[in-house]
Amino acid sequence: MTIVAANDLIIGYGAIPIASGISIALQPGSVTCLLGPNGVGKTTLFKTLLGLIPPLGGAVRIGDDDLADLPRRTIARRIAYVPQAYVSDFAYTVLDLVVMGRTAYLGAFAAPGRADYAIATDALGALGIAGLAERDANRISGGQRQLALIARALAQRAGAIIMDEPTASLDLANRLLVLDRIAGLAKDGLAVLISTHEPEQAFAIADRVAVIGRDNHFATGPVDAVLTPEQLTRLYGVALTVERTPSGRLVVGPAAAPHAG
């Protein structure tokens, strides 16, 4: 059962298309990585999939419904969004931050109830940061804040989670931690879509990739089939190669210069 699907989507702003021919299908229990050079339209695609901007062509389907027909609250109960972690002006606790994920389930006058706080606490536990509940959300590390934002999306109890460069500006340890947790979300049955600048992250945790290249180039499919050295070279405009390390990891690096050796 596909949670989010788009076929031959054209994305852009106003009358200006940025990319076209985009087909995405997010299945439960999978991680899809979105790759592409800067400015090619990854954020625009996310905004289109979340219903924040309308597609210029084609439609986004959430289950059996067209995204354009659904009210905000219903969309929120099916797809959750995790922005890049940043420091906000208001000093609230991590638990307060996570319980905001319950907004789509609250009535007009309602404040979060005990059940909502319980769901928020469970979300924190699922990501291994239950101990941060009462900490000031602005005083935790970047990796912890990113995990808190993921917990917020988890509390939203949506079937799909879309994350915008979840490991950007994180140090190595935090990067590995967040990636590990993201893989865990998929194992728990969620459909996860993340954008990243690191093809190696796709090799590490993704089942499928979608690549958007310049000049309306789009390709999607299983990681190994799509992320070939040729695809990567075309995508980033630099000669790249994929190698397997002795421990079995796939790494991406510049292809050997023709005059070497």
């Binding site: 924040l52 969309i75 929120a76 969004y81 208001f90 000093a91 307060d96 789509a104 389930y105 609250l106």
Partner: protein
């Protein structure tokens, strides 16, 4: 201090100031006499003074103070800026323009309801103009710029009305009205102001929960299920109703809306959705206190309440800006 306790204390302060305010005037009455008079007991003259002469004014001070503070809290949450106040979308200036037009055209003398009605019409028209100018799906920046433009236009129109006033007395009447006053208000004014003010309270209190999710940004709030477009619309309309009603009966009272949310924010842990009720109580208390002060300060003519709030509010606003600067410095140093 727990939020519940501070709300209780604020409510107690409001009640206390209410009774004190009812006791101030050419005939000084103690709180006990005042309480009895409210219920119709005691000297009939005292009952007359308290119920017919002073109660409307005191009620209006509490209602308007609460409304302005509530509007300020709602707008600061909506635009996520602590320097926002009820005037950012132009409603007070438009209401003032409506009132001034009624005075200048002599309608206010012909019909006692003309002035308040014209003011409310001005505020509501400003909402319509704002939405037409900026568009219902406008970004916050566009809305703010449109509000600024409309506010400037309305202020210019008020200046024109003063300029073209038919007589010095008319000009003086306009000028004094603009200063903001609660003198000689009757229950007609309370009845006039109550419906839009209650409408404002209903709209802004009902939508306050969404302000929490908004702190993460508009896009994230929308993906959390908040209808941001509807939130902006309801907030703008709610503020216009409340401010329109307030300006309609009392003229321009400034700074209460801007300053009061800041005073109560430390009590509620900076949660933008929890500021509203404490702000209403504190605003009522502040305006009641200001009204008492205006009547107690020995000057030749009574100080208008709008003048008083501006004199106290402006230095506080300056302090806010300085504090904000200090925060900016800390942030750049922290890195």
């Amino acid at each position: 201090m727990k939020p519940a306790l501070s709300i209780l204390l604020l409510a107690a302060a409001v009640v206390l100031l209410f009774l004190i305010s009812l006791g101030i005037g050419p005939v000084q009455l103690g709180p006990v006499v005042v309480t009895k008079a409210l219920f119709g007991a005691g000297d009939p003259i005292d009952v007359l003074i308290v119920r017919d002469l002073r109660l409307p004014r005191t009620l209006l001070a509490a209602m308007i103070g609460a409304t302005l503070a509530l509007s300020g809290a709602a707008l600061q949450g909506l635009v996520r800026n602590p320097l926002a106040g009820p005037s950012i979308f132009g409603a007070p200036s438009a209401a003032a323009f409506g009132a001034v037009t009624a005075i200048g055209l002599g309608l206010a003398d012909a019909l006692s309801y003309a002035l308040p009605l014209a003011a409310m019409l001005g505020a509501l028209l400003s909402v319509g103009a704002l939405l037409m100018l900026a568009g219902a799906s406008a970004s916050m920046l566009t809305l703010l710029l449109a509000g600024l433009a409309l506010s400037s236009l309305a202020s210019a129109a008020v200046s024109l009305a003063l300029n073209l006033a038919s007589s010095p007395f008319a000009a003086l009447e306009i000028a004094f009205w603009l200063l903001g006053s609660l003198e000689d208000r009757s229950f007609h004014h309370v009845a006039m102001a109550a419906p839009p003010i209650l409408g404002c309270w209903a709209l802004l209190i009902a939508t306050r929960g969404s302000l929490r999710a908004l702190t993460l940004g508009e896009d994230v709030a929308r993906t959390s299920g908040v209808d941001v477009k509807r939130l902006k619309l309801l907030t703008v309309i709610g503020v216009a109703l409340g401010v329109g009603g307030a300006v309609a009966v009392a003229g321009a009272i400034s700074f209460v809306g801007l300053v009061t949310p800041h005073l109560v924010r430390p009590l509620v842990g900076h949660d933008p959705a929890r500021v509203h009720i404490p702000a209403m109580l504190a605003g009522a208390a502040l305006l009641l206190a200001a009204d008492c002060a205006c009547r107690l300060i020995p000057t030749t003519s009574e100080i208008r309440i709008g003048v008083f709030t501006a004199l106290i509010g402006a230095p506080f606003f300056i302090w806010l800006v300085v504090r904000q600067r200090g925060r900016d410095l800390l942030q750049t140093q922290g890195g």
